[in-house]
Amino acid sequence: MADGTMSNVLKKSGKEIQANWAKDLANAQSSSRGRISAAELEQQSAEFIKLLTIASEHAKASDIAAPEFKLIREFLEGISRSRVAQGFSSEETASFIFSLKKPFFAALRVEAGKDADALADQVWRATELLDALGLHTVKAYQKSREDVINRQQREMLELSTPVVKLWDGILALPMIGTLDSARTQVVMESLLQKVVETGAQIAILDITGVPTVDTLVAQHLLKTVTALRLMGAECIISGVRPQIAQTIVHLGVDLQGVTTKANLADALALALKRTGSSLKAH
């Protein structure tokens, strides 16, 4: 800090601030179902005060992007990540930093004594710094959460497109979840690729696990069916639930002569009949 008061206070009464802070944190934590131990909190707060003391000695103002704050930033990012993994909310994570204000300001007050102007000045500086650090923590928290979501999305995409060989020349693709353009693309590609690999004549698209079928989803299904037909394979759509049949008719979607069946068993029976009859012709 410019006048060094903050770093002086931290150096002089760092231990005291840290003790009060850890106590506040522990009190606040008691409501958070013991996801983090008091010892861990104690250790984290001590580490943070240590880093803050070092940083405030060298750094100017509250520009936390400065290289002096690099260690603190990394430390906070680490805290955010572990909080995400422990299932804390963003509020709880941010309050880790913000709860430092109370003991810190108390220490500043002791230092400033009767000088109100100096106190106001220092409180403002400390607030600016702690707010910036708090925001950084939340940002890191958000990013960790987004990473988790992205990873899950990728995993779901892989999980949701298994192409199953049901019989000689018959493939089935059980679709689960809402169909959007990106997923349809993946489904279509993996199914068509499998058709080429196995030389299957019939593919059954099972939509039992598709919660709703609107015009867009129907269009995606039709695209898949058309692509299959262009490659010389037949397609049967199965698992059409009564509500979905009603929706399709009400929406006026024309399924263009696509064979549909109520369940996979019926579709398989039909597929067997079709491949069977073609076998007889040989």
């Binding site: 068509l192 058709v195 080429v196 695209k223 037909r229 262009l230 010389g232 012709a281």
Partner: protein, 127 residues
């Protein structure tokens, strides 16, 4: 000038497209094929596009047109071996090629062609 060969196999014609088609080549194929059907009085045409890896809307339409012309000249036309990427591209372009018969590979295409012609042949016999 490069040319796509048209092979005669009895009453069928076999066309294998093994190079990337460009517009001029497609037009020439259209011309050659319709002449060949006429000359050989072919009953069926098999177009193998398993080596074709790229299509645009023009080539897509050309393939549909060739199939239509074959039909008018009295030859069943079957498109075999379309690659997944090509199929997806055509669908995304809105070319679903209605009325074009397709098969997975040449063997299946030949079987299908024979079945179709046998069905037609029965009509001839009754006459």
């Amino acid at each position: 000038m490069e040319k796509i060969p048209i092979l005669r196999m009895g009453e069928f014609l076999l066309v294998t497209i093994q190079i990337d088609m460009h517009d001029q080549l497609a037009l020439k194929l259209q011309d050659d094929l319709s002449n060949a059907i006429q000359k050989n009085a072919s009953k069926g045409v098999l177009i193998d596009i398993s080596s074709l890896e790229m299509v645009d809307s023009f080539i897509g339409r050309m393939v549909a047109d060739i199939s239509g012309m074959g039909k008018i000249l009295g030859a069943e036309t079957i498109l075999v071996g379309m690659q997944p990427a090509v199929a997806i591209t055509l669908v995304e372009l809105g070319l679903s090629l209605p009325g074009v018969a397709t098969a997975l590979d040449v063997e299946r295409g030949m079987a299908l062609l024979r079945r179709k012609i046998d069905a037609d042949g029965a009509d001839d016999f009754n006459r």
